[in-house]
């Protein structure tokens, strides 16, 4: 390789951070917070370049960039990082986590610790997990029971876990990029999809999918991560400070997200959206079980799923 391929550690203070959304969103605010706090604790040590609005690419591109040295830090959903650590799909298993607190306890405990370790082995240093909020079912017509999904065309994330879940309810999956989703649903390529409440309001999807059913089937969880190459350039003391600041920021992010979720649901309802409670919870969970069965080996065995369920 040419000589200039060697990473120049003298420049390590410059820190390129990728954010998928704009300045006013929790995804960017969390990095402004981390930047400001680190400036207080370690003045002049880092120069943050926070690149917003997904200008550096999607989540997978950013994660690749972290491994290849072009990006030093970002947030990521665990779904994307499961390309390296398949066990992370445990956190995406449907109807496994009762609520935000349940998820928080699991990722703060031994399971979360093990996942962080697996991520570190793959070049992603994770100070803490974050919670993007629950994914809910969105539809053109009211859908509260799973049998109502039979034969409906559903926009799904292109991932076996999601496809399996909705196929279990008899829906026909179709892959549509998120930017085309509004159009596709307005014109009828799809009848339903699932998304967090914040994104539902953010993309104004209530205009085309007026019914939100609070299934909360998947808690969309993620991480704050730093690239290993960046991490290795820090002293032991600096690492401790960055970890502490980031962990505090993770809680800040979760709070922002919760506020955003509540505001989003209100906004949707004020604009003609209807929020419904799911019925026949047993039937929903029945469908989810097929996903658990299919993924139990990937996530580390049925006992891991049991441990999560038993976590108070």
């Amino acid at each position: 390789a040419p000589v200039f391929l060697r990473p120049a550690s003298a420049r390590a203070t410059a820190l390129t951070v990728a954010s998928l959304l704009g300045e006013d969103k929790p995804e960017t605010k969390v990095w402004r917070r981390i930047g400001a706090r680190l400036e207080q604790r370690l003045p002049g040590r880092f120069r943050f370049r926070i690149v917003t609005n997904g200008a550096l690419g999607g989540e997978k591109d950013v994660a690749d960039g972290a491994r290849l040295g072009s990006i030093q830090a970002s947030l990521s959903t665990v779904s994307t990082l499961s390309a390296w650590v398949p066990e992370l799909q445990l956190l995406d298993l449907p109807f496994l986590f009762r609520d935000a607190d349940h998820l928080r306890r699991v990722v703060s405990g031994p399971i979360g610790h093990g996942l962080k370790q697996r991520l570190a082995e793959n070049g992603f240093v994770v100070p803490d997990f974050i919670d993007y909020g629950a994914r809910h079912l969105l539809a053109k017509e009211a859908v509260t029971r799973p049998d109502q999904l039979q034969g409906k065309t559903m926009r799904v994330i292109q991932s076996p876990l999601h496809t399996k879940l909705w196929s279990a309810f008899g829906a026909v999956p179709v892959g549509i990029p998120i930017t085309e989703t509004y159009n596709a649903l307005a014109t009828g390529v799809a009848d339903a999809m699932d998304l967090t409440a914040s994104a539902y309001a953010g993309f104004k999807l209530y205009e085309v999918l007026p019914y939100l059913t609070k299934t909360a089937h998947i808690r969309s969880s993620g991480v704050i991560f730093f690239a290993e190459s960046f991490w290795n350039s820090l002293t032991e003391e600096e690492r401790a400070i960055v970890t502490e600041v980031s962990a505090e920021a993770a809680l800040y992010f979760n709070t922002l997200m919760r506020q955003d979720e509540a505001a989003s649901l209100e906004l949707a309802q004020a604009n003609g959206g209807t929020v419904l409670e799911p019925e026949a919870l047993g039937a929903w969970q029945e469908g989810a079980r097929t996903v658990w069965m299919a993924f139990q080996e990937v996530v580390g065995g049925p006992q891991v799923i049991e441990t999560v369920r038993d976590t108070a």
Binding site: L5, G65, R67, L68, S70, A83, Q158, V174, N183
Partner: protein
């Protein structure tokens, strides 16, 4: 040897394109006929497209698809021209080495597995590495076959030498600026645009660029891995198949029966046919090629001076990328996350305004050409009937997207499938079908490579926050919409002079759009204006891709065409002015 490799590569690329078409059509069929989906069809399609680009890039390195700015080089005396050739080949060597070595490094570092396909992700940079190796090999073989063994050896030495240069410059300039300047220098030597972009991004590393080579290659790979972009090969294919199916000629007959009897009837027919063709094809280059093949002989036979005939064809083919479907809008949507549907609708209005302005210009320019005889209502009806299958294609594409049966990418695949049926029904021979697949595959690879090559540059521009600087500058001027629009138009028209449309969209849209939005301009309206601006660049010197295509196919020299196209250029600028006024008022 070179020819044998080229033949093998183009066959392989055509096969990949056929597989891609089968995949997307299969996925739509499954959904509607069997109420089930094909898991991972999208991702598989993206991988196939990447493979297509890797296979096709060595083939697209020569000819009009290479997008070389060679007008300046041609002015040089013979000996200097040879030196410029060596320099241009060195740029290609640099780009090939970047793909090869960066791709190999990236393949070793990725470590992830595609969750959907279950295949290791290292295959993607590895494909580009293989493409780089093939690019280099074909360059050497071609030059040796041309008797330029010594110069190409020099190019390799220069390229490899620059590549391995053990330097680390203090970074006082933003790396993105350095990269842009380096790309500009390569372009002046007459190197292919995509190679200039890749080589420049690689050479920016010692100037402090954050994008080390492995990251550069994965960045290029992900730049061209966007589902929307899959529509590009399909629209190219649809345009090619439409031509060999004879359906295009029926469109001509219909247009002639409608406007042929007017003043400059044949030229007006060219315009109307181009408009109809635009509704089914997404590529202005395909439109120009079609017009040059279909209309040029007829126009000349009917007393139009050759340069005039070529100018009408080049100017009317601008419409293709404005009227839906449009590759330019697909690129814009991919670069900025604007909605394709909304952009296409805006493009439809803009295209009609432009067509009206062109019709007036043709009317004024061709005072002395005779109209064609007026046809009877009976003939008109039969022309319409004969053209129905071709018009059906418009329905499939525009209707499919608007009614919402399919996504834009699927609509493109349906259009290609439909045109394939037309071609088969017309008994187009297997050979001509296959050669259309080859041609479309190579064109798609050329566009794909350009999209991929622009990605590292956009990354560098984003890290340096050039968009923020532009918005800041514009705001400091007061930020009135009219001022911003005027400035953007100037920037875009200037860029359109030298830069290819696709690359310009990818590089400029993310920079200018935030400034326009900050000034209160509707993003969709601005997107349409941006594309119209850059499309006009297709007929302006020194780099006017539409003029080059027409020149290449008709043999009329490009400078003569540039002169003859002036009145139509004026008409298009009037259309642009009208669109800008509409954006400000509405």
């Amino acid at each position: 040897m070179a020819a044998a490799i080229e033949a093998a590569l183009s066959t392989f690329a055509a096969t990949v394109l056929a597989a891609l078409l089968a995949l997307v059509l299969g996925s739509v069929t499954l959904r509607y006929l069997f109420s089930t989906g094909l898991v991972g069809a999208e991702v598989a399609g993206l991988w196939l497209f990447l493979l297509l680009v890797a296979l096709g890039m060595p083939l697209a390195a020569s000819g009009p698809l290479s997008m070389r700015l060679d007008i300046l080089v041609k002015l040089l005396p013979q000996r200097l021209r040879l030196l410029a050739g060596v320099a241009a080949d060195s740029v290609t060597v640099l780009a090939a080495l970047t793909l090869l070595l960066g791709g190999i490094d990236a393949a070793g570092l990725m470590g992830s597995t595609s969750v959907v396909l279950g295949l290791p992700d290292w295959l993607r940079p590895a494909a580009l590495a293989a493409g780089g190796a093939l690019l280099m090999a074909l360059l050497l073989l071609r030059r040796v076959a041309e008797g330029c063994g010594l110069p190409v050896l020099l190019s390799v030495l220069v390229g490899a030498g620059v590549y391995a240069l053990p330097v680390d410059y203090a970074a006082s300039w933003p790396p993105s600026l350095v990269a842009l300047m380096l790309a500009g220098i390569g372009l002046l030597f007459g190197a292919p645009l995509a190679h200039c972009l890749l080589a420049a991004a690689a050479l920016a590393v010692p100037f402090g660029s954050a994008l080390l080579l492995p990251a550069l290659v994965t960045n290029a790979a992900s730049g061209l891995s966007r589902f929307l972009l899959l529509a590009i090969p399909f629209f190219l294919l649809a345009g090619g198949l439409l031509t060999i199916s004879g359906a295009a000629e029926r469109l001509v007959r219909l247009a002639a029966s409608l406007v042929g009897h007017r003043r400059a009837g044949l030229a007006q027919t060219t315009l109307l046919t181009s408009l109809l063709f635009s509704g089914a094809s997404g590529s202005s280059v395909a439109n120009a090629a079609f017009g040059a093949g279909t209309f040029y002989p007829q126009l000349v036979r009917n007393g139009y001076p050759p340069a005039q005939a070529g100018a009408v064809i080049a100017a009317t083919s601008v419409l293709d990328n404005v009227i839906p479907p449009s590759i330019a809008f697909l690129l814009l949507a991919a670069a900025t996350d604007l909605s394709v549907g909304a952009l296409l609708l805006g493009g439809a209005y803009a295209g009609l305004v432009m067509a009206a302005c062109l019709a007036v210009a043709i009317h004024l320019v061709h005072r002395r050409t005779d109209p064609m005889p007026r046809v009877t209502g009976q003939e008109r009806r039969s022309a319409l009937l004969a053209a129905l299958p071709a018009l059906g294609l418009v329905l499939v594409v525009v209707g499919g997207i608007r009614i919402g049966l399919v996504t834009p990418t699927e609509a493109a695949a349906l259009a290609a499938g439909y045109a394939l049926l037309l071609a088969v029904a017309h008994r187009s021979g297997r050979a001509s079908l296959w050669s259309t697949f080859r041609q479309s595959a190579i064109e798609a690879a050329a566009i794909g490579l350009l999209i991929g090559a622009a990605a590292p540059m956009t990354f560098l521009l984003a890290v340096d926050d050039v968009a923020g600087m532009v918005t800041g500058f514009v705001t400091s001027l007061g930020g009135q919409a009219v001022v911003v629009l005027l400035l953007c138009n100037l920037v875009l028209l200037t860029t359109g002079l030298v830069l290819d449309i696709g690359a310009a969209i990818l590089l400029l849209a993310p920079i200018l759009l935030p400034a326009a939005v900050a000034a209160g301009i509707d993003p969709i309206a601005f997107g349409v204006i941006l594309v119209v601006n850059l499309m006009i660049g297709g007929v302006t010197p020194p780099v006017g891709i539409l003029i080059f295509v027409v020149s290449g196919l008709t043999g009329v020299e490009a400078p003569k065409l540039f002169r003859a196209v002036t009145p139509y250029l004026a008409a298009l600028l009037v259309a642009l002015l009208l669109l800008c006024l509409a954006a400000l008022v509405l």
